[in-house]
Amino acid sequence: MGIKGDHSEKKLRSRSPANRGYAGLFHLLEENASDAIKQGEIKQHFGRKIAIDASMSIYSFLVAVRSEGQQLTSETGETTSHLMGLFYRTLRMVDNGIKPLYVFDGRPPTLKSGELAKRSARKAEATAAHAEAKEVGTAEEVEKFSRRTVRVTKEINDECKRLLTCMGIPYVEAPCEAEAQCAALAKAGKVYAAASDDMDTLCFETPILLKKLMLSEMKKEPVQEIYLDRAMELLDFTRDQFIDLCILLGCDYCDTIPKVGPTTALKLIREHKSIEKVLEHLGPKYAVPGNWPYQDARELFKNPLVTDPEECEFKWEAPDMDKLVAFLVGEKGFNEDRVRAAAGKLSKNLKGNTQARVIDFFKPVPKTAEELAGMKRKNEEKVAERKKKVKAEKTEKGKAKKGKSFHFHFHVPVLCKKDKSEPEKSSQL
């Protein structure tokens, strides 16, 4: 299966202001369907099989696992950031009782070529900037651009697969997009959830998406669990509408409409229900990209190229201590004691009883129509309250700018009588 380096470099995208998609959807859910997101500790997921978007994780290790701004290297100068990251973060999951299944990207869909070309261009830019920074820039700049030049090569992927095999951790190779395969596995019940920081995974219909699962222990950040059905229920969207919303927010497969941000996107889909209808009603203010392939993007989300989950075989096995030591210690210069201690944990956590959960035996009572309505109402109240707060803050700021003379001229005493809690009114005057 051909693996293109650039295919997995998503982190970079979310850092560039031109692409708001990923952050966009998450914030949109936070603001409009906060009950669809749950935060928890990693250990709550003990005993669960979780499909992990490997390529994305490896990329993030290359970017983040560093020492003094430099990638970790072995004595011979080969990069080892990816192995270090993969080894210890996987260990952390296994230590918490999780059974990770890694999914590697296959060939990227043709529709992604535009996006990939852009990424290459940015990469080339960063490489040039990096070279320049080395000459004249500050250390900070050098580091910044060096992070941006990161590419996941086939060798890096192969080394990661080799490491996983030594560790007894299974992986599968997706025919196309790894997120799509993760989602298919979760949807088929083969794994509990898909883990990716890429919100697109929700469009591929994973019932549960785990974010921030792969962060290092030191970050102390909670794992975020996003429930697709709850999100759609709270937004009052069908799957088609949800996908259309995500396309407007910005996905990997096509551009967004300039000037359509998250708020507008949500409003447009709420009002018109589909991109087709949105386009019919869109005013001249918005320049829809020519030849906009939104229908193809939609098709990719709805019928992605994946291997039938029933045909994916994976098993968690005991680590091969000798091979692991030979690889990590012998070839890559890892500390032998630490590798051995870690591998000991791998085999210990593999055997023994697994704690079941009461929810495996007792099923949730479906919410009554009344409860559902109540849930939606409460959600709307929350959204309204948040909006009010934001608005209040804005007017508060506005007032501060305009200064005291504003109040003086308009005989404020009348307002003062009312209440401080209605700051909007004073600005309307």
Binding site: G40, K43, Q44, K351, T354, Q355, R357, V358, D360, K378
Partner: protein, 258 residues
């Protein structure tokens, strides 16, 4: 509105003490049958189900069913301000923002009033099926607590085996192993100290001791505890009170499927 008067504040104090380490936030669902609570721990391994029947209150007035979302740590703080013998009255509006608790001390004519803020808790409610358990063991709650604490020193999990002869709690850990066997016996003078075993078929299951030790905090509620077991279903640990109960369900540890 809700108005429920409890002769002894101690009952609610003990109930909340028994569950506060398992659950942080939960709804007290008030309806005609009384005040009920159902919640799972964060990991969804254990479930607690509590009922204080309306008969246990005098009076119990309720105009409309209401769910009181409470942070149990906050509730514990307020309940610490009550003495066990105080008369406790719970009050709430129909769509309340706060729950008010009034403690009356008859001895020195003291009335204390507290209010705690309520929260919106979106909780999943699980349907607990009626189960004919293969084994039901009733025993002194203090005895069960001691066994769990003792074995917890050696291991993380305990295997509970019930047969006609008795019930055996056993464990093994890094430093060694241990077991406690209780035979069925009847204490005529002190019936609460009897051990009774009702058995339709032998069962053997393994459970996390950490959770069992946690459940035992409810021992103050009742001198007798009932353990109900069937193969491959959660264990039920029940503490019955005069007019209500606290029930804990604990999912077993199971062997690997592969």
């Amino acid at each position: 509105m809700l108005e429920a008067r409890l002769e002894q504040a101690g009952v609610l104090k003990k109930v909340v003490d028994a569950i506060k380490d398992l659950v942080q936030d939960c709804n007290f669902d008030c309806n005609d049958s009384g005040i009920a609570l159902q919640a799972m721990d964060n990991s969804h391994v254990a479930l607690v189900s509590m009922l204080l029947k309306s008969e246990g209150f005098s009076p119990y007035r309720l105009d409309r069913n209401v769910a009181l979302g409470v942070n149990l740590t906050s509730l514990t703080k307020v309940l610490r301000c009550a003495q066990n013998e105080d008369i406790l009255t719970l009050k709430a509006e129909d769509t309340p923002d706060t729950l008010s608790l009034v403690f009356e001390n008859a001895e020195n004519d003291r009335i204390s009033e507290y209010e705690i803020k309520l929260m919106d808790i979106d909780q999943e409610h699980l349907g607990i099926p009626e189960t004919e358990y293969a084994a039901a063991i009733s025993m002194p709650s203090a005895e069960f607590q001691r066994i769990c604490r003792d074995l917890n020193q050696l291991s993380e999990s305990v295997s509970i085996e019930a047969s006609k002869e008795g019930v055996k709690f056993s464990c093994s850990g890094d430093i060694g192993s241990g077991s406690v066997t209780l035979r069925q016996h009847n204490n005529v003078d002190k019936p609460d100290l009897s051990t009774k075993i009702e058995l339709t078929e032998p069962v053997a299951l393994t459970f996390s001791l950490k959770y069992l030790v946690n459940f035992c905090k409810a021992s103050a509620l009742s001198s007798v505890v009932t353990l109900s077991l069937s193969n491959e279903v959660p264990l039920l640990v029940e503490y019955a009170m005069g007019s209500g109960f606290v029930r804990f369900y604990l999912a077993p540890k199971i062997g690997e499927e592969e």
